[in-house]
Amino acid sequence: MEQNILVILPHPDDEAFGLSGTLAKYIVEGAHVTYACLTLGEMGRNMGIPPFANRITLPTIRKAELEESCKSIGIQDLRLLGFHDKTIEFEDQDRLDSVIASLIEEVKPSLVFTFYPGYSVHPDHDATGAAVVRTIQKMPAADRPLVQCLAFSNNCEQELGKPDVYQDVSMFMVQKLNSIQAHRSQFQAAELMGKKQMKAKEVEQRFGTERFWTYTFS
């Protein structure tokens, strides 16, 4: 289906585990995806093992990794919004909201992906989701795009219920794994990739489904 999709997330790599498969799927079906990434993740703690990045080179390295990830997924339009990692919750809200509003105005998405405010662990995730929701809330109800949220706080299912959107992305494992692997400064940690090489079936079990909560506006 031809449609415009707008993805608004704060860090390079936020797209990789949560929705790269879903985006690849929509793109193959004809969607045009704009991904607005708020920061360059310049305060990230992972620098590669052994560290090949440092605090100074990290933003440049992560920008290149993000571009490679987007290419793997097929994303047509990447926007780097130039905010500073870890500071989204402290940004001037009007400025933040107006940047998001003008993106929506320009892209005219029928579907927006972001983080579920309050259930996304990292303060930047929550603040980004809150800004997106706040901005779309102000639009006339009939004009609002559908908003589908990522959430992964330990209490998210308890409080939000089960996700209402499940995407089977098992046919898009190549794009998804290439997206994850593009972020090579970030994803070598044992806790993320597992210590041993996973078999194809294990990979599919672990990464083959992506889940979203549709945001309900009051």
Binding site: N46, P50, P51, S153
Partner: protein, 114 residues
């Protein structure tokens, strides 16, 4: 980044003394500390491009290393440093990485803003 060479770091500390410097000082448990383990208390701070000047400084320990810089009215102190940027001859770029490779602490000094 390379493992710290104490002699080279000391030379850089000496080279940068008695002048106005931009400092980046940081310590962090990471934003996900409590998400992975609820007994952990997440904490972090950083200060970027504040100006300091020290009259005397040194690196000590056997690795991870400590650095102390004595200023006119106080101190800059960092513990847990493991790596430095050997190729950078104008700036002192140091960090401490844990056994998973994650940055825990950073100390950077430069004549130009970061």
């Amino acid at each position: 980044m390379e493992l710290i060479n104490q002699t080279e770091v000391q030379q850089m500390i000496d080279k940068l003394k008695d002048q106005d410097l931009y400092i980046h000082l940081e310590m962090t448990t990471g934003a996900y500390a409590a998400h992975y383990d609820s007994t952990k208390h997440p904490a972090a701070n950083f200060i970027t491009n504040a100006i300091i000047r020290y009259s005397h400084g040194s690196i000590s320990g056997n690795g991870p290393y400590r650095v102390g810089l004595k200023m006119n009215h106080g101190w800059v102190y960092t513990e847990g440093l493991t790596h430095f940027e050997q190729a950078d001859t104008d700036r002192l770029i140091m960090a401490g990485h844990d056994n998973q490779g994650k940055l825990v602490v950073a100390l950077q000094l430069s004549r130009e803003p970061f």
